[in-house]
Amino acid sequence: MILELQDIYKSFGEKQVLRGISFKAEGGKAFGLLGRNGAGKTTTLRIIMNVFGAAGGQVLFDSEQIDYNKVHFGYLPEERGLYPKKKISEQLIYFAMLKGMTRKDAIRAIDYWLERLGMTEYRDKRLDTLSKGNQQKIQLITALAHDPEIVILDEPFSGLDPVNALLLKDVVKETIAKGKIVLFSSHQMNYIEEFCDSIAILNSGKIAIAGELTEIKHSYPRNRLVVKSRQNAEIARAYAASCTQAENGELIITLEDAKSKQNEMQKLSGSYDIDEIRVFEPTLNDIFVEYAGQTDAQR
């Protein structure tokens, strides 16, 4: 299964929100859609789910125009909310049936998921009697119960305690293992980095960078070394011109030529008491700040 966006344009009135968005997300992998607030993430997701059409471009599923009668979506919106006054089982069944399930299948699926998320005891309770985290778990069921091909999770981890976050992680891993296309949108980079093989960073309605995360990381010049040592002061003095200290105390030494890194590493480990030495790779956070933080004019 491959979901592909090709050159998507969208504007609301005078405001151009999306300006040629293209990316590809594959089944059995998670895809991270990143961007600052207002970059166009939600609009992109809504176009994928056909809430409204695009002004230009197309959404393809397995290289063909997507057929919304056949391809099913599960969606956990960033703005959570269901019917606060209604019984949990009742509304979960309603949503599952809206997605095309029969009542019998819906009940079976809902019971499975309530059990899986440890929520069975709340089955007949009203939603507004639950804590925020538990409400979020209920909302997650609306995204998964009908076994959709594409699962879209918008800030799935916000508001969850560490135990529930762990539970959600397991569920997401299971979903990926089942071969589904999982689309993540989040500002919590650590989760994206943990799950997503590919990412796309949106900036002002355009793709700032997209592709396999490891490739993106490797595309950075490999001429920097990260050194962790008890002799930081001496090393810093020796490499004064090319050395900076990171917040966590590690030294980052920038070499003139990436080819010399092997020699330099041997030299360092021979001369000083080194705890750890490796080639510097940017974190997703670094990449995000670099690509999402700039405006068009700055780039």
Binding site: G13, R46, M49, V51, G53, F73, Y75, Y83, P84, M97
Partner: protein, 413 residues
């Protein structure tokens, strides 16, 4: 279609499981039952305790020329509901008795048929002066005729001559149709405003609780809009059916106690074709307004905004209601304004039905009116679904109409 049905069932379930909805319906049925049983209860109570003459209000009669007994008997015979008392006290004393509550009213006769009627609060329906005038002119006519040489018996028999005739009504009997037309218009008014507001609130609640984020990605906006509106229409009709159904049942249980009350009888004697028209106009009128209320509800970001947002629709509806009510009570339902209103889809459910019930309307006029109405319902339904799709995703301040229209038609590009 499957989705529409599921939404319809869900929304209808929301109404039927709502305690307020059920409570109000049961309450109305109980009130109707109480009204319908009232004559039976009254009859049962009054047969046990015969009405005392002391209970009757007192009418004072003061006369200058006639004998006490004659006058008192004459007044007592026509004012059966009063205890008629003859008095020779002065005007001030009579006035005091009336203002003090000892007597309800008084006739002071000045001779030559002239009289003064004293009453504390003149009721809108007080016909005592007409009754007294008829009585006094009868007495005076007899007196004058006997003075001219006729015997009292001849004079009486001349006065009792009556002519007879009959009315053949080729169109509608306004008097007979007035009450159920009135009830239908009023029911339509209540149900449209109540349920319209409910549809708007329902949409705005889903929007403000953000359940909309999920709904809009789970179902087509048209299914959502039509499902909601038609569910509320069915709920409204169910409520009316329960209320009027219980009225019919309780009336039949008590019909002999109602006797020949023409108003009540006319209500329950509605012709079948008119009943069919009533249902048709009711459903179409309901739908056209409910769609508008739903569309407006989708543009409101907060529940508090609903009341102001729906105001133009409410005013439009009340305007139509007033035109219809005023022409109904004036007795002329075929004014130029009413004719125009019976083709405008926002007023035709009330105006055309009123004309059908209380006047004679050509079949093609009805057909044109219904056709315009049906087309408008479809067009407004589709437009409402479009506004809904755009409106529910607009958060923040309530968008201006211009922006919504631009967004609705801009989104096609």
């Amino acid at each position: 279609m499957k989705q529409f049905k599921r939404i319809l069932v869900f929304e209808l379930g929301n109404y039927l499981k709502n305690k307020v909805f059920v409570g109000v319906t049961v309450f109305l049925a109980v009130v109707i039952a109480a009204v319908m049983f009232f004559p039976r209860i009254k009859a049962a109570v009054s047969s046990n305790e015969p009405r005392q003459s002391a209970d009757k209000p007192i009418m004072l009669v003061a006369a200058e020329n006639m004998s006490d007994a004659d006058m008192q008997n004459a007044f007592a015979s026509v004012f059966g509901e009063y205890e008629v008392k003859y008095t020779d006290e002065g005007i001030d004393s009579i006035k005091n008795q009336i203002t003090g509550g000892a007597a309800e009213c008084a006739f002071v006769l000045h001779g030559n048929g002239a009289y003064t009627y004293y009453v504390n609060n003149l009721s809108m329906y007080d016909t005592n002066t007409e009754t007294a005038e008829a009585l006094l002119s009868g007495i005076r006519q007899v007196v004058e005729m006997t003075r001219a040489g006729l015997t009292a018996e001849d004079a009486q028999s001349i006065l009792s001559i009556r002519v007879g005739g009959e009315t053949v009504n080729l169109g509608k009997d306004q008097m007979q149709n007035f009450f159920y037309t009135y009830i239908m218009i009023f029911a339509l008014y209540m149900v449209i405003l109540l349920y319209g507001q409910m549809v708007a609130t329902n949409v705005a609640t889903e929007k403000s609780s953000r359940a909309m984020e999920l709904l809009i990605t789970s179902a087509r906006p048209a299914s959502m809009m039509f499902g909601k509106v038609i569910a509320s229409c069915i709920a409204g009709l169910t409520q009316l059916a329960v209320v009027f159904g219980s009225a019919l049942v309780f009336y039949n249980l008590n019909s002999k106690y109602w006797g020949d009350n023409p108003i009540i009888r006319s209500i329950f004697d509605m012709p079948t074709d008119l009943f069919a028209y009533m249902l048709l106009f009711f459903v179409l009128g309901f739908l056209i307004y409910a769609f508008m209320f739903g569309a407006v509800g989708s543009t409101a970001s907060k529940l508090e905004d609903i009341n102001t947002s729906v105001m133009p629709i409410t005013l439009l509806f009340i305007g139509g209601f007033l035109v219809v009510m005023l022409s109904m009570t004036s007795g002329n339902v075929d004014t130029a304004l009413m004719k125009v209103c019976s083709y405008i889809p926002f007023t035709s459910p009330m105006a055309m039905f009123t004309r059908l019930a209380m006047s004679t309307v050509k079949w093609y006029e009805t057909a044109v009116s219904v056709a315009i109405l049906i087309c408008s319902v479809v067009v407004i339904g589709i437009a409402a679904a479009k506004i809904y799709r755009v409106g529910v995703l607009m958060y923040g301040t309530t968008p201006r109409i211009g922006n919504v229209i631009k967004a609705v038609f801009g989104s096609k590009k």
